[in-house]
Amino acid sequence: MPAGVGKRILSVHVVIDVMSKDGLRKFAFGLDKSTDKDDVEDWAIHFDLFERASRTDDFDEAVVHVDVDVKAKNFDNMQITADKGFNASQAESTLVDVATAADRVKAGKATTARLAKAVEGVIEARDA
């Protein structure tokens, strides 16, 4: 096969950080779209929420960290989420359900399985 000028995208990785209006929260939405050996598209979604008490403080470690491996779940909502990002219902679910679960895991009041369920709920919230 002769050399060609064609390009094939292996993966696209996007992270967008958005600061809240009051400057006290910053969230990072990450989307990884990659192709595996069998040319099947694989998506992963990441969500991090950072908080600080004052605008003069630095953001420290994420208070909420969500990883969704979309490949493992073949739901329509996941494909839509991977293509279009979180809608408002999913954003709400992240800020309440996932943040609560993350806090409870940290406090030893919940298991990581419960946090994973809350993350799964974010995808399901697309229909809410």
């Binding site: 060609g4 094939r8 995208i9 992270v15 967008i16 979180f86 954003a91 309440v96």
Partner: protein
């Protein structure tokens, strides 16, 4: 899951097979390249430098899909990390990994792996002001605030020509990140055989910790400037100046922002001119207070600004305010797309000025026009044009108020229109990338998520939230009571219901915790998450086993309260929240789109101009009244390298003391050391 062979191939043939096929067929890596979209024409690509330590595929080794993708992910993390410390409204990091040049020649199976990156910081007002749009075009890497400068020292040569000053050459040496609050120290030297500018400046900027303020900057400078005018005329200023300027965040439905600033300066001014055949040599010390205010507004494809500035000047031996100047400046700029990465750029400007106290003002302060722009404030962040700009007249040679009197005027008005478009261009972000579905949907997903977060925030501030506050408070009380009751019941419930009770207790406790996370969302999730969570965690069988006042009554009350909140939630104006979110983010997103879809790495095209200007007072238009200029030129722009504009403007009705037209040229080199 879906097979994506077709949509992942971009830019034609060459690597048509699935990536795994190249791996299984034993292809080896011929070349690995890491390049940022802003790395054009750099001595040392900054993105590649940032990739140090990342486990990139190795040239000569077998190609492995997983390793190539993992390296892209690691690169993304590396590039994204510094953004956590930024105060920008939005920032974005994109890494795309690509294979290309797949070849099988004489059994040698080789391919290239390229990593393309795009990073950008976007403030609230990025893309709204004309100055920020210009910065995007002329130095996108700097405007994007992408990466920390690879070098502390920046060297930006420049050259210019106009018939008054002759060829000017020089540049600016900038030392960046000098100290915590000092962004840069600039040493600028530009000179010709007739004029010069030597300036030393120290500047800083910050994002103030005030909700309504976007940016603020300050600047202290000392400068010695000499300008030429009509043959033999010279104007000099030596001054020490302290300046500040700030701009608010966009406000209002029209997406406007307010700018304000001022400076205090003192020094000497000198004018050596000949008027009415008499040499005039005016030298004086002076002090001046400058103040300026303005409004800027814009949309996706246009920007507009109105500025008003006043100068109060003092000369020794006169009153505190010996003279004053006022400047009004209105500017409009449009970008009209006509083809891919080709936009017709239209800039229209009207400005006017008045000098009061001309009998005591230094002659150097009089208004003179020509093909060199003067700005009321120093720096590039806010341009208020302070002189009549007319490209058919050499700098400072529009100076007559009568055929004999050439001291300059005490008033002026000018209008300028400039039209330009690239006819040949090479996009900053390659078309194969900006048009690929994966890249576009990744950007869209990120933008939509950003908007959704803002929508949720504004929903939480909707007036209807107050209507739910009492119900929400009651929910908290009921949950506390429920939790206490269930805790007490742990000692009495039979073994068969113990697990159910534990689940119910956990659900109630989780619900209580959720109630503490509602400040950013409003009370809506009580109906959609809190109450349903308790209901699903507390099964009917358990309710039957416990006294009604321990569980059933509380579940019923929670259901009632949830239904009430769900009903009131319908009053929350989602449309208003979405509009506000759009308002907040549209300029940041628009700026991102501009980087991706509009900006060219190389562009060449014509420039057309029309100018009209007059100075006064002129009795019966003795000095020709309004003077005109019609120009044609060329603009060459090479990102990170140079920006050249050369233009000749005709004077359609030259008077005896005027030339038939004038050449002008400006050449700015971005940074020789980049």
């Amino acid at each position: 899951m879906q097979a994506t062979a077709e949509r992942q191939v971009v830019g034609g043939g060459g690597c048509e097979l699935a990536p795994g096929a190249y791996e299984s067929q034993g292809y080896a890596v011929r070349r690995v390249e890491v390049r940022g979209t802003f790395d054009w024409f750099q001595l040392m690509p900054s993105t590649a430098a940032r990739a140090a330590g990342i486990d990139l595929p190795v040239e000569g080794e077998p190609f492995r899909v997983d390793r190539a993708v993992a390296a892209a992910k690691a690169l993304e993390s590396r590039l994204h990390a510094p953004f956590l410390g930024s105060e920008s409204l939005v920032d974005v990091t994109v890494v795309v990994s690509v294979i290309e040049n797949c070849s099988d020649l004489d059994g040698r199976k080789l391919l290239d792996i390229h990593y393309r990156t795009f990073t950008s910081l976007l403030t609230h007002a990025r893309g709204l002001t004309i100055e920020s749009r210009d910065a995007q075009r002329t130095d996108p890497a700097e405007a994007a605030g992408t990466l920390a400068p690879a070098r502390r020292v920046k060297l930006a040569p420049m050259a210019a020509y106009n018939a008054s000053d002759n060829f000017l050459a020089g540049g600016t040496v900038t030392v960046r990140n000098v100290a915590d609050r000092i962004d840069a120290i600039d040493a600028q030297a530009v000179a010709s055989n007739r004029s010069h500018l030597f300036r030393l400046a120290m500047a800083g900027s910050s994002t103030p910790h005030l909700k309504w303020l976007d940016t603020g900057d300050w600047r202290i400078s000392v400068a010695d400037q000499k300008e030429a005018g009509s043959p033999g005329d010279q104007f000099s200023t030596t001054a020490f100046k302290g300046q500040f300027a700030a701009q608010t965040r966009p406000f209002g439905g029209a997406s406007a922002l307010f700018r304000f600033g001022g400076s205090l300066e003192g020094g000497n001014q000198e004018a050596s001119v000949t008027s009415n055949g008499t040499p005039v040599d005016d030298r004086t010390g002076y002090g001046a207070l400058r103040a300026a205010a303005g409004v800027a507004t814009g949309g996706n494809r246009y920007s507009a600004a109105a500025s008003y500035a006043v100068l109060l000047g003092h000369v020794p031996g006169d009153s505190v305010v010996s003279y004053s100047k006022q400047i009004a400046d209105f500017v409009w700029e449009s970008q009209i797309p006509v083809a891919d990465h080709i936009a017709l750029q239209l800039e229209a400007r009207v400005n006017a000025g008045w000098l009061l106290g001309s009998n005591t003002a230094p002659v150097a302060e009089f208004f003179r026009g020509g093909n060199r722009e003067e700005s009321f404030l120093e720096g590039e962040s806010w341009i208020i044009r302070a002189n009549p700009f007319i490209r058919s007249v050499p700098s400072n040679q529009l100076d007559r108020t009568s055929p004999e009197t050439s001291l300059g005027g005490d008033r002026f008005a000018a209008m300028n229109v400039t039209l330009s478009a690239p006819v040949w261009r090479y996009p900053l972000i390659p078309l194969w990338l900006s048009r690929s579905e994966s890249f576009k949907s990744g950007i869209d997903a990120a933008k939509q998520t950003g908007k959704s977060q803002a929508v949720v925030y504004y929903q939480s501030k909707d007036p209807a939230q107050k209507l739910m506050a009492a119900d929400a408070a009651r929910v908290t009380t009921v949950l506390d009571t429920l939790f206490d009751g269930l805790t007490a019941a742990q000692g009495t419930v039979d073994a068969a219901h113990k697990d159910a009770l534990d689940d119910c207790l956990d659900a109630a406790d989780t619900a209580r915790d959720k109630m503490t996370h509602l400040k950013d969302t409003g009370f809506g999730p009580i109906a959609t998450s809190v109450v349903p969570g308790v209901a699903s965690g507390c099964v009917a069988e358990l309710a039957a086993a416990l006294p009604p006042q321990t569980l059933t009554a509380h579940l019923q009350e929670l259901a009632t309260l949830g239904a009430s909140i769900a009903g009131t939630q319908k009053q929350v104006r989602t449309d208003v929240a979405e509009a506000k979110a759009d308002e907040d983010l549209k300029f940041a997103f628009s700026a991102m789109d501009t980087f991706i879809n509009d900006i060219n790495a190389v562009a060449v095209g014509p420039v057309l101009s029309f100018d009209a200007a007059r100075i006064g007072p002129q009795t019966a238009d003795q000095a020709g009244g309004t003077r005109y200029g019609i120009g044609l030129g060329v603009r060459v722009s090479i990102v990170n390298v140079l920006h050249l504009t050369a233009l000749y403007a005709w004077n359609p009705s030259p008077l005896p003391w005027e030339s038939r037209g004038a050449w002008m040229m400006t050449l700015n080199v971005s940074d020789l050391l980049r």
